[in-house]
């Protein structure tokens, strides 16, 4: 046995070139590789993730939230919840971050070509979808109809507000925005006050030649998939990306396991058909 590969746990250094606030607790960071050689050779596919680190605060897993068609940088959107994400939120333009990746599998873009796509996102779950949405919109003619349904607790909690405005104005995709039906909910006229399943019930999206790509809080994914199945959707046409606690991203540390599946290697992108065969522990 030879020790041929190098230290897999040593990240590349990237520099924050832009930061913006999405919601009061979520920020998006744009970063560029310090080593131009690494940056030039860096490729990834929509759906993959990375291990990001703030030196001194540790590492955490986030998807790459921009599309591979938008080259020269990577973006991640992060909710401030604990030590590492707190440290990340303190960073500003010019600050250094560690990045390992890309890891994991990706959305089956080739299989999606020529098909109708329906994106269903909830809260910060729009981040991995955004990578694919950007990718699809950048190569729009390869796809049939594109629809986006996006929901959050309230309007303030919408991420990517800038892009949502672009999607609204564009004829490239249909857009349906929704906020939770909670007491005293205030929102714009073009935003529905509803959970997603009733919206699907109304729309009755036809599964013929169409794929749903969904990501959001686990409970939302469960209700959305249940509703779609009720509407006659085959489980293999529903694609989602799973968020499990991860550490190594390399299929070693055992954190991300669901049954014999390594989410960091075999996923994070799965069809609902695959997910249904897992032990119910995600």
């Amino acid at each position: 046995m030879t020790a041929e590969n190098g230290n897999l746990y040593k990240p590349h250094i990237v520099t924050v070139t832009e930061v913006w606030e999405e919601t009061p607790t979520i920020k998006t960071f744009r970063m560029v590789f310090d080593d131009p050689k690494v940056g030039d050779n860096f490729t990834f596919k929509a759906g993959q993730f990375g291990e990001y680190s703030v030196f001194g605060e540790g590492e955490a897993t986030f998807c790459i939230a921009n599309s591979p068609t938008r080259k020269g940088y990577i973006e991640c959107s992060v909710k401030e919840v604990a030590r590492m994400t707190h440290g990340l939120h303190l960073l500003d333009v010019g600050d250094k971050v560690g990045f390992r990746g890309p890891y994991g599998n990706w959305f089956p873009l080739e299989e999606m070509k020529g098909k109708k796509l329906m994106f269903i996102g909830g809260g910060i779950g729009l981040a991995p979808l955004r990578s694919l949405i950007q990718n699809v919109l950048d190569t729009r003619k390869d796809f049939d109809q594109v629809d986006i349904i996006y929901a959050a607790r309230c309007e303030e909690e919408f991420v990517y507000k800038r892009e949502i405005e672009e999607w609204k104005a564009s004829s490239d995709c249909g857009l349906c925005l929704a906020v939770d039906p909670i007491p005293d909910q205030v929102c714009g006229d073009d935003v529905r006050v509803s959970f997603i399943p009733p919206i699907l019930e109304e729309m009755k999206p036809n599964p013929k030649n169409r794929i749903v790509i969904t990501c959001g809080p686990p409970i939302m994914i469960k209700l959305v998939t249940a509703k779609l199945e009720e509407l006659g959707w085959p489980a293999e046409q529903i694609i989602t990306t799973l968020e499990m606690k991860m550490k190594c991203g390399l299929g070693k540390c055992g954190r991300c396991n669901i049954g014999s599946t390594y989410v960091c290697k075999d996923g994070p992108v799965f069809t609902y058909e695959q997910i249904r065969s897992f032990p119910q522990e995600y």
């Binding site: 046995m1 250094k96 390399l250």
Partner: protein, 333 residues
């Protein structure tokens, strides 16, 4: 077969010499605790039938291991590789179950991505195993799982203990080299076989466990488990880890799946109750790992039985798992 015949004195004299030339880890007692320790000055190596508290895993996957250190300024980061252990290392008198454990873990550390740190330590080590011709202690059950403890083909050398002294045989060049420091003549050795252990366990549990994932019996498998993680720390095959930053260093630390933190996320806990975490531990060893890598992630060393503060006997756990039956009512609460 001819083997190198050694007396206890030959072994002690050889070890003495070896430990002056290279780093030797061997079972030694300190404050009543038998563990693999570095032979420096003094200290007597245990050659008899006693089991170390910790497994030899720690020499290949240290409990806390620096992956690199860093100096982070406002607009600069410098990453520094940890000092390299370049000296070869001899692991002396570990048991066949320990060797099996390393071979089993070689798989996870080398599928797809090769784990540099693990492989480097494996490559650096010369492993000399002491065979077990009968259970070393009463909690041993390697043989009950089908492991032949009279051999250890993956080890660099093997030593047999008999009433007339020791017989040593090298399996590799590294082993040959290490055995050279021991004097002693080649003699015809008897044939060594392991006396069968009292119990045999069916370990073909992959499907049974998957089919009965929802069985309420899981709640009765180890209800006393308090999730302390001791079983994992002493286990030769548990390898799950965490990565954290500690004072300018990024370190990899042992972690344990019976603890609640293992999968806890911000607003989501995939394994909210203790029996689910224990089920993960058992199924990782006897279902998921075999499915993925073709080997049971357990060698029957019995350390988890020796050390569990709740007296959970993993042999009983295995027997209960063999009796898993489908849920009558189904579903988990």
């Amino acid at each position: 077969m001819k083997m190198q015949k050694l007396s206890e004195d030959d072994i002690r004299a050889g070890l003495d010499k070896l430990s002056r030339e290279t780093v030797v880890y061997a079972p030694m007692e300190q404050e009543g605790r038998l563990d693999f320790r570095k032979m420096e000055k003094g200290g007597e190596v245990e050659l008899g039938a006693r089991k170390t508290i910790m497994s030899a895993k720690k020499l290949f996957l240290p409990q806390a291991e620096e992956l690199f250190s860093f100096k982070a300024g406002k607009h600069s980061v410098e990453m520094i590789d940890p000092p390299k252990d370049e000296e070869p290392l001899v692991l002396f008198a570990c048991r066949p179950c320990e060797m099996r454990a390393l071979e089993i873990m070689d798989k996870v550390f080398n599928w797809d991505y090769a784990d540099f740190q693990w492989n480097e330590r494996r490559a650096r080590a010369t492993i000399i195993v002491f065979a077990c011709l009968e259970p070393l202690t009463e909690t041993c059950f390697c043989n009950s799982l089908g492991i032949d403890s009279s051999r250890s083909d993956g080890a660099d050398a093997i030593i047999y203990t008999t009433a007339e002294g020791f017989f040593a045989r090298a399996h590799s060049e590294k082993g040959k080299k290490a055995l050279k420091v021991f004097v002693g003549k080649d003699e015809e050795a008897p044939e060594f076989t392991t006396r069968d252990f009292p119990e045999k366990f069916n370990t073909d549990l992959q499907e049974k466990m998957m089919e009965n994932f929802e069985s309420p019996t899981w709640k009765e498998i180890a209800p006393a488990c308090i999730g302390c993680g001791i079983c994992t720390f002493v286990c030769p095959t548990c390898h799950c880890f965490d990565i954290q930053d500690e004072g300018g260093r990024r370190v990899r630390l042992w972690d344990y799946c019976t603890g609640a933190d293992f999968t806890l996320m911000l607003a989501h806990q995939p394994r909210p109750t203790q029996y689910r975490r224990y089920r993960q531990k058992v199924m990782h060893k006897y279902s998921y790992y075999p499915t993925r890598f073709g080997e049971i992630l357990c060698t029957g060393c019995g350390r988890c039985i020796d050390q569990c503060p709740q007296n959970i006997d993993f042999r009983e756990v295995l027997k209960k798992c063999n009796r898993l039956a489908p849920a009558e009512t189904g579903g988990e609460e």
